[in-house]
């Protein structure tokens, strides 16, 4: 009997939702266990670094890495897993585009450390001590790993073969990617599992989306009630569907919440935020600068809204810290 393919899973800077998306394969997880050997999965199995290091280069058939790269240790682990693996998949939005964690790039590392360890009201740190003394390679040492200068998506650190978008990804997409690899149905390199069109194309509310939308103002979700059957946009609620890749089964829409863009931009859009900005601006029903400013001032944090999931992969990258 031929040896079963080897699979590894690893968790970098993320919330754990992507790990959950693997657990949510439910019965399929048992099937995966039958068809492949999971050789490294620290969150679920008794996986040891030395066992991973003992594997030969390219010995793992498929590695799924979730989370952004925020710590030197994660960069080290990503490089190690890359060496050991034939195929690496960026699993979930943080690994794909930087994700929520990537919003850290709107602040410098000293700002983030000061905020987390000194300024937050619930922190008691009279000495003002910050974590420090980090080493570049802290995997073996007893010290905590240091922060990288910027948050990076996985493909800004290592070569990535495929991407599974979503925050978290739907388990169906995780399954699709894993079975595609195990059954040898390999898509072209760089393939993003998901639709090739925007969310609007498959949105259950598409029929109520007008040809042209003109708005005198934007409303935030806590400020208004909306018709649960109709497109969010003509009701003044910003939904990022027109600029976001579909393939999520309209999960948020079905839960009566507007799209927040976690599947990222289509291949044809280099910068998710620029695309979002363009379509939002096109809906403004005003011709004078003062009125346009009044309308757009209702969006309190355009950077955070337009680049909620993609700051590290945006053209300007969030700005703070050294440029790469």
């Amino acid at each position: 009997m031929p040896e079963k393919p080897k699979i590894a899973l690893y968790w970098c800077s993320g919330c754990g939702g992507c790990e959950e998306s693997v657990i949510d394969l439910s019965e399929d997880l048992l099937e995966l266990q039958r068809r492949a050997d999971i050789v490294f999965w620290p969150v679920a199995l008794d996986s040891r670094l030395k066992d991973l290091e003992a594997l030969g280069n390219g010995e793992i058939d498929l590695t799924l890495i979730n989370g952004a790269i925020r710590l030197h240790e994660q960069a080290h682990m990503a490089r190690l897993l890359r060496r050991k693996s034939k195929l690496v998949v960026a699993h979930g939005t943080c690994a794909h585009l930087g994700g929520i964690v990537g919003l850290g790039n709107f602040h410098s590392v000293p700002e983030i450390l000061a905020r987390s360890f000194r300024e937050v009201p619930t922190v008691k740190n009279p000495g003002g001590i910050l974590p420090g003394g980090f080493k570049e390679d802290s995997v073996r040492g007893p010290k905590l790993s240091g922060l990288t200068d910027k948050v990076m998506a996985l493909d800004q650190v290592i070569d990535v073969d495929y991407y599974i978008p979503g925050c978290p990804p739907p388990p169906e997409l995780v399954g699709e990617a894993v079975w595609a690899v195990l059954e040898g149905r390999l898509p072209e390199k760089g393939f993003v599992f998901g639709d090739r069109k925007t969310l609007c194309h498959t949105c259950p509310r598409l029929d109520s989306k007008p040809e042209q939308i003109s708005l005198k103002g934007f409303k935030r979700v806590h400020e208004t009630k909306w018709d649960m059957e109709k497109c969010f946009l003509p009701q003044g609620v910003i939904c990022l569907g027109p600029a976001t890749r579909g393939g999520c089964d309209s999960r948020c829409i079905q839960a009566n919440m507007p799209c927040r863009g976690c599947f990222g931009p289509l291949e044809t859009m280099e910068d998710h935020g620029a695309g979002i900005l363009s379509f939002i601006a096109s809906m403004i029903d005003a011709e004078h600068e003062d009125e346009i400013r009044r309308i757009t001032d209702a969006i309190p944090d355009p950077g955070g809204l337009f680049y909620r999931y993609s700051a590290p992969h945006s053209i300007l990258g969030g700005g703070k810290g050294p440029r790469t």
Binding site: F106, E270, D271, G273, A274, G275, L277, S278, I280, A281, S282, I284, A286, E287, E289, I292, R293, T296, D297, I299, D301, P302, G303, G304, F306, S314, I315, L316, G317, G318, G319, K320, G321, R323
Partner: protein
């Protein structure tokens, strides 16, 4: 980096502001043409925010978008479409560490070389004082 000459990308619309820039040259107006990299586009409404971000990423110290005066757009509303993007784009740039001295949208009519020279001159002057683009 004081003393470095700022480089400014200027998007000019074919119908008005490009002619305005031409008029500035023909009229022998004094303006810092050596600091400007003019790009002619058919309409200011065609300047996708992505192009502005890309200009800054590639090292531009400033970006100017100049269109037709309100009501004068060859395509009726292209300059209004451009204007609608400006406030959000300014704030996106700020959040990315690029202050608003470095980005400006305005109109220049076809014969108004004087205004073109003034707008371009003012931006170059402001950015000379700031040195190269910083990310603070």
């Amino acid at each position: 980096m004081q003393g470095v000459e700022p480089k400014i990308i200027v998007f000019l619309c074919h119908w008005c502001s490009y002619e305005g820039a031409d008029a500035a040259g023909r009229g022998r107006k004094e303006f810092p043409s050596g600091n400007l990299r003019e790009i002619r586009v058919m309409c200011s409404g065609r300047v996708d925010p992505r192009l502005v971000l890309e200009a800054f990423r590639l090292g531009a110290d400033g970006v100017l978008i100049l269109g037709c005066a309100p009501g004068d757009c060859h395509y009726k509303r292209g300059n209004i479409q451009a204007l609608k993007r400006i406030p959000l784009l300014e704030r996106i740039l700020q959040q990315n560490g690029i202050n608003n001295d470095r980005f400006k949208f305005d109109s220049v009519s076809a014969g108004d070389g004087e205004k073109y020279a003034r707008i371009a001159g003012e931006m170059v002057e402001r950015l000379r004082g700031q040195g190269s683009k910083n990310h603070a």
